[in-house]
C-alpha cells in the first residue's frame, strides 16, 4: 500500500481551453449532390454555417520544481495562437485551410488536424485535443495510439 501514495507514480496533465469561430460546409466530391444532402443534412447547405468552437489542449511532463509548472502558459498560449488560432479563427475551414479542401471539415477531422499542428510543442508532451463544436457535441483525439488506450488499460487493471 505504501507505494500507492508515492507521488512519483502520479501523472499530471495541464489543460488549457481556447476559443475560435469558423464556418464550414460538410460536403465531399466522392458523393453525388443527392447523397451529400442525404448524409450531411443541413450541414451540407451550400453557403455553409459556423460554430463557436472550444478547443481544449492537454500537455504532460515533469513539473519543474522551480516554477511548479509542466509548461509555462505563455509558451503554450503563444504556440497554440500561432499554430491553430491564427489559422482557424474567423475563417472558412473549407476555403481558408488547405487541409480541408480535400478532407471534409468534420470536427473529427479538425481534431486530428489540430493534434498534428500541436504535437511538436517543445516544452511538454501533447497528450490530447478535445473540441466542442457546440455545447452538446464534443470530439477528442490523442494521436494514433489513442485507440489502443482502452485495451491496454483493461489489461493493466486485470493484473492488479
Amino acid at each position: 500500500m505504501a507505494a500507492r501514495t508515492n507521488s512519483e507514480e502520479l501523472k499530471i496533465e495541464l489543460w488549457r481551453r481556447y476559443h475560435f469561430s469558423a464556418s464550414h460546409r460538410l460536403h465531399t466530391a466522392h458523393l453525388s449532390e443527392e447523397e451529400n444532402r442525404l448524409v450531411f443534412g443541413k450541414c451540407n447547405n451550400p453557403f455553409g454555417h459556423g460554430h463557436n468552437y472550444v478547443l481544449e489542449v492537454s500537455v504532460s511532463g515533469p513539473v519543474d520544481p522551480a516554477t511548479g509548472m509542466i509548461a509555462n502558459l505563455a509558451d503554450l498560449d503563444g504556440f497554440v495562437e500561432k499554430a491553430v488560432l491564427k489559422v482557424f479563427d474567423h475563417k472558412s475551414l473549407n476555403e481558408d485551410v488547405a487541409a480541408f479542401q480535400e478532407k471534409v471539415p468534420t470536427t473529427e477531422n479538425l481534431c486530428i488536424d489540430i493534434y498534428e499542428r500541436l504535437k511538436n510543442f517543445s516544452h511538454a508532451k501533447l497528450e490530447r485535443v478535445r473540441i466542442e463544436e457546440t455545447r452538446n457535441n464534443s470530439f477528442e483525439y490523442a494521436g494514433e495510439e489513442f485507440a489502443r488506450v482502452p485495451v491496454a488499460t483493461a489489461a493493466k487493471k486485470e493484473q492488479r
Binding site: E9, L10, K11, I12, R17, S58, P65, A66
Partner: protein
C-alpha cells in the same frame, strides 16, 4: 467499474514567487502571477472515485462520506486561505494548478476506503485546469 464524481468549489489566494530566482526572473517567468500582494481564484475541484457498486446499497462510495472527506481535507485547509502561507502541504512549492492537484490527490487517496481515487481535476478558471491520476490508468478519460 463505475466512476462517481463530486464537485466542490473553494476560493483562495496565492502568489507565484521563487525566492531562489531574482526579482526580474520571477517577473519574467510568472508575469502578473508574481504580483507580491497576491491574487485569488474561485477554484473548482472534481474528485472521481472508481469502484463496483455495493450490492446492498447500490453505491460505490456514499457521496455523503465523500462530501465529509472533501470538507475536512480540502475545504478546511484551503477555502478562504492564502495557499502560500496557510497550507503546509504546499510549503516550498509554487501553488500552480499542477502542484495543488497533486497535493489534493495525496491528501484524499489514503482517506478513500471504499472504491479507489481515480482522478482529481482542479480548475483554477474555466480555461485552465489540471488532472492528476495514477500513471498508467486511463486518467481523466475514465474506463473508456
Amino acid at each position: 467499474m463505475v466512476l462517481i464524481t463530486r464537485r466542490i468549489e473553494f476560493s483562495a489566494s496565492h502568489v507565484y514567487h521563487n525566492p531562489q530566482l531574482s526579482a526580474e526572473e520571477n517577473r519574467r517567468i510568472f508575469g502578473k502571477c508574481n504580483n507580491p500582494h497576491g491574487h485569488g481564484h474561485n477554484y473548482t475541484l472534481e474528485v472521481t472515485v472508481a469502484g463496483e457498486p455495493d450490492p446492498v446499497t447500490g453505491m460505490v462510495l456514499d457521496l455523503k462520506e465523500l462530501k465529509g472527506i472533501l470538507e475536512r481535507e480540502v475545504m478546511q485547509r484551503m477555502d478562504h486561505r492564502h495557499l502560500n502561507h496557510e497550507v503546509p502541504e504546499l510549503a516550498g512549492q509554487i501553488p500552480t494548478c499542477e502542484n495543488i492537484a497533486r497535493v489534493i490527490w495525496n491528501l484524499l487517496e489514503p482517506k478513500i476506503k471504499q472504491g479507489a481515487l481515480h482522478h482529481v481535476r482542479l480548475y483554477e478558471s474555466p480555461d485552465l485546469f489540471a488532472d492528476c491520476f495514477r500513471n498508467g490508468s486511463a486518467g481523466s478519460r475514465g474506463s473508456i
